[in-house]
């Protein structure tokens, strides 16, 4: 056999890898029909064409979580702090809480008997105002069963009157037209009117949004906002979000198609330091939903079904729903679709410009300059009622107080990101939106100016104003 060392024989050997051929490393590692890890037990699950038995699978999940968490830790500089686990109660966040509790136990059992995290707290946003079917007692039970404290904030708290959220955005008028000169979103920045309960305000916000896509996006924005606040309040320097790989892949596609590409690295990245004082990690990013489902089943981890606006709705109900079925459908036929999308995304880095951008008034994510220029390049257009209203001018100096509450209309177009502009434009005027960074803006205008209800949105104008303030103070 060895005499004929022609190219042809090598070729045939390659085609038929029989006993004569040394098995490749890949093949040597596997025992056909047995678990890929222990090689002696019959497998119970297949993940991306690899077979695992129950015990090896659970162990692999634990290790995978720890690796992801340590990698995120390495990439960011965070002092020893408390850690908050965002808990929606769904399978992914419940599994994450379980894995985090296990991580903490292991750390405490170690030689140093001191964990890298002072304490683990679960943070939950109660959505019962929109989805009354969810049993929130079950969610706090998930935390209790793992001996973890659970802090709960209600969705309507985003409209609560406290120091953190003093002002809201009340939409006055919005006209966005491709190529138009007068793309404007004008709003009052108002203090809450106590006569309306925050619950009602939230419900009316969601009912005035134009589409399921907008509602889903708004819900995401509010939840993130509340979780960040909750983490800050609990003095947690790290917030864990339970986005699975499947979810991240879906989010990448849907965020990009909604015009959130600019802030995408912050919204789905493995770690994000965009928010002040709180670093966000996504340690479940390497898990696909199938792994999470099996992990929960075999570790007897309870979870609840978290409904969304499009649960049980047809595929085309919203962009989020459509991309989900698209990504999952693709992954069904090509089992590495999800990981390919995620790995491609991991190569994305936020542009320098994004890191220095101002945060969006509504969602708190970076605002891309010239969102209007983008829009003016769009070709889709519809005629708008463009009756010029003299009070709405881009220049702050032309702002005229409206008759209501003596407030001043402000042009906020340039401090709202492209995607939020879309939401605001299609919403009914008079709708009140929670402001992620309104207070931030007012603070930047200088102390002693707390009563200022005007924000002139032109960034340059704003900067000039701050300069003026500083000069005045020095003088």
């Amino acid at each position: 056999m060895c005499d004929k060392t022609t190219e042809a024989s090598l070729e045939t050997q390659r085609v038929s890898p029989k006993a004569t051929v040394e098995p490749s490393q890949y093949e040597r590692k596997r025992v056909p029909g047995m678990c890929i890890k222990c090689k002696v037990i019959k497998p119970n699950v297949t993940i991306r064409r690899s077979l695992y038995c129950k015990a090896c699978f659970v162990r692999t999940c634990v290790v995978k979580f720890r690796t992801a968490l340590s990698r995120s830790r390495k990439n960011t500089t965070v002092p020893r702090t408390k850690l908050m686990v965002a808990l929606s109660g769904g399978p992914s966040s419940s599994a994450m809480l379980n894995l985090m509790a296990d991580f903490q136990r292991m750390e405490l059992r170690g030689t140093e008997a001191q964990s890298r995290y002072e304490d683990i707290i679960a943070g939950h946003v109660d959505e019962s105002v929109l989805f009354p079917d969810v049993q929130d007692s079950l969610i706090s039970e998930i935390a209790i069963s793992l001996s973890i404290e659970c802090r709960i904030t209600k969705l309507e708290d985003v409209f609560a009157t406290n120091d953190e959220a003093p002002l809201f955005i009340k939409l006055v008028q919005s006209t966005l037209a491709p190529g138009a000169l007068k793309d404007k979103i004008c709003a009052h920045l108002v203090k809450t009117n106590d006569s309306i309960s925050s619950k009602k305000r939230l419900q009316s916000l969601f009912s005035s949004l134009a589409s399921a896509t907008d509602r889903e996006e708004m819900l995401d924005i509010i939840k993130t906002l509340l979780l960040i606040r909750l983490a800050r309040k609990a003095e947690c320097g790290v917030l864990l979000m339970g986005d699975s790989g499947t979810r991240i892949a879906t989010k990448i596609v849907s965020l990009a198609s909604r015009g959130r590409g600019f802030s995408l690295p912050f919204e789905v990245g493995a770690e994000s330091s965009w928010f002040d004082n709180v670093v966000v990690y996504r340690p479940m990013r390497d898990f696909i939903m199938k792994e999470i489902a099996f992990f929960n089943m075999w570790t007897k981890q309870n979870s609840v079904v978290v409904p969304t606006f499009t649960t049980g709705a047809p595929k085309r109900a919203s962009i989020g729903r459509l991309t989900e079925s698209f990504v999952i459908g693709l992954d069904h036929d090509f089992s590495s679709t999800v990981s390919t999308i995620c790995r491609t995304m991991q190569k994305l880095e936020p542009r320098k410009q994004a890191l220095n951008s101002l945060p969006c008034l509504t969602c708190g994510m970076p605002v891309e300059n010239d969102a209007q220029a983008w829009r003016s390049r769009l070709t889709v257009s519809k005629p708008l009622a463009v009756e010029a209203e003299p009070t709405i001018q881009s220049n702050g100096s032309n702002d005229v107080p409206s008759d209501e509450d003596g407030l001043v209309r402000a042009d906020i177009t340039d401090v709202v990101c492209y995607s939020c502009q879309n939401i605001l434009t299609s919403a009914a005027s008079g709708t009140t939106f929670p402001g992620a960074t309104v207070d931030h803006f007012l603070k930047s205008k200088g102390p002693g100016d707390a009563k200022v209800d005007i924000v002139n949105a032109k960034q340059e104008a704003l900067r000039k104003q701050i300069e003026t303030f500083l000069l005045n103070d020095n003088e």
Binding site: P91, T246, A293, F294, M297, T308, T311
Partner: protein, 101 residues
Amino acid sequence: MSEAEEITVNVEFSGGMERLMKDQASSIQAKLPEPATIRDLIIHVRDNVVEDKKELFSKNDTVCPGILVIINGSDWEVEDSEDTVLSNKDTVLFISTLHGG
């Protein structure tokens, strides 16, 4: 094989799957003529147990992508997926992984 022979399979639904079923049942017992495969069970559930929105449960005589099928605690893909032959008193669990997280 006599035509009268039937097997009983315990069927469970979770992860939101139960909302699609009649009376939002989270578990049922299905009687199928022997020999029966998972495909037969899926067709049985689709035609007799799913309330409406059958397209969210099944497509082309198999489950929609995103729905896991677990037979006696093991992934069906470890066996023969739709062609796995069911035995009497098997437990089959359908989990929806859509909208999780």
